[in-house]
Symmetry: C2
Subunit: 304 residues, 2 copies
């Protein structure tokens, strides 16, 4: 029988492996670690890299926390008993070069001491990987989505389509009417109705293991491409949209800020810099305008 400590242990190893892979690929930056304890129970290891050769700012966080959920959260989750255990790995990487995409990954496991209302599962997995290119390059997007589809297809023929749509809907900046990037996969509350805990953990492990090879591919391929001031400025504008999504719409960030989470770990997702211009519109027929045209839900990136 799979124990929560086994899952947390695997996640902790995943953090080690991903940090090692990113550090090796970057060649210059190194992670610093802040271990922290949660007053209500548990803790985590935040690892942050700044001013690498390719990675300008990035965080790879592990946590395993437990205790009692605040009333508003247990109500929102429809749990009669607020006892919980949650463990996961969260990553956001902001590269220096605007030709390298921003990436985000999360894998998490949650369990509650609440009896399952309506027979619902008392444990579940969630997570996903999504990509936010400053400049959308269709071939790169296709590579990314095909890699995710390979992972999904190992487990269920419908996972990719289902979780790709979920990512389109989740990573949406409603007030801008644009997607954050080219999406990826997103899933939440995969519990007993979806499969055995062992099988779902296998899926989540494969998602987690896919991260480093995918991002190292982009670091290697695009990390040394040349760019100019204009492209750097565009990156700053795209980063401001990333800020807007995370602070206004992202449920994980909101949850963290409302539950007195460790602020610096939650906001490690913020870019090193961001720029806001009033009413910025890229000129017609530019790479920037083309990128905006790709920030829509429902694009089939497998065959662009």
């Amino acid at each position: 029988m799979l124990k929560k400590e086994d899952i947390a242990g695997w996640f902790q190893n995943l953090q080690d492996n991903i940090c090692a892979a990113l550090q090796q690929e970057d060649g210059k930056g190194t992670f610093r670690e802040d271990a922290w304890e949660r007053p209500g129970g548990g803790g985590g290891r935040s690892r942050v890299i700044e001013n690498g050769s390719i990675i300008e700012k990035g965080g790879v966080n592990f946590s395993a926390v437990h205790g009692t959920l605040p009333k508003q959260i247990s109500t929102a989750l429809e749990l009669d008993d607020p006892g919980f255990y949650a463990t996961g790995v969260s990553i956001v990487i902001h590269p220096y070069n605007p030709m390298v995409p921003i990436i985000h990954m999360n894998v998490r496991y949650f369990e509650t001491s609440s009896p399952g209302r309506n027979g619902e599962s008392t444990w579940w997995f969630g997570g996903g990987i999504d990509l936010t290119p400053h400049y959308v390059v269709p071939a790169d997007a296709t590579f990314f989505h095909r890699e995710l589809k390979k992972v999904c297809d190992l487990h269920h023929p419908e996972y990719y389509e289902r979780f790709k749509k979920w990512a389109d809907d989740y990573f949406y900046i409603t007030h801008r009417q644009e997607t954050r990037g080219i999406g990826g996969i997103f899933f939440d509350r995969l519990g007993a109705a979806e499969g055995s805990k062992e099988d779902l953990f296998e899926f989540v492990k494969n998602v987690g293991s896919a991260f480093a090879p995918i991002y190292c591919h982009f670091m290697k391929k695009n990390g040394h491409l040349s760019f100019d001031e204009h492209q750097k400025e565009w990156q700053m504008i795209r980063r401001s949209r990333y800020v807007e999504f995370n602070l206004v719409w992202d449920k994980g960030t909101k949850f963290g800020l409302q539950t007195n989470g460790r602020i610096e770990s939650i906001l490690m997702s913020m870019p090193p810099q961001a720029h806001w211009h009033y009413d910025h519109q890229p000129a017609a027929n530019t790479a920037e305008a083309e990128t905006l045209s790709f920030l829509k839900k429902g694009i089939n990136w497998l065959e662009v």
Copy 2:
């Protein structure tokens, strides 16, 4: 009898006067205007200045809108009938020089066609002025608060104390456990229970009229002080806190983003740039550490 159109007309003039005063004091930047219409009724004039000699980015917005409130809003306001009229002026100014404070002002009038539940007023005024210095200078803070107290004292001996506390509580970045700046005054829902519409409008007019002289004082006094790279970087960090407050906690911004407001007018409050460093802490006994020590509720700035 004071009509809503009279109030809107006065607000529109206030926008003109403030823009003229800021433009003259800046000496270089000029406002561009975007007039816009709201599909549901009414519209506004957004005025934005960028790359002035002192003002790096600022917005002075006027709007007068009417129609039907979304269900979630009328419920939150406890209105049985969602018909509404709202007019106001909103300002945020981000100066180039870190020695000049960021300033925010809002004056607004709201009325509803809903019968007053429990005899409550069917119209009200709201607004305030607050200051966010990148470096808190006690003498400047005292000047600012004394000017606001003069305005308040013209109308009610308790207004300053009451609205100063309200600003401390409102402009609070809960997740950072710090105030956005040194506060100022904030008030909302001043309706029939508080005084006649004419008297309250006089108060709001005095608040609006106080803005330009106060900010021009700081532009003149601090706009040409020298500063270095380190101080500029600190400004960028303070600006990121401004972003966090506005996107996570500010009710006006949230209201605008949830009700399909004009995005560029709402987000004109964003700074031109902002920086996030992981776990940034100023060194002990520096001007930056001193500023942080002042970002607390309940400081009596009248006599510091």
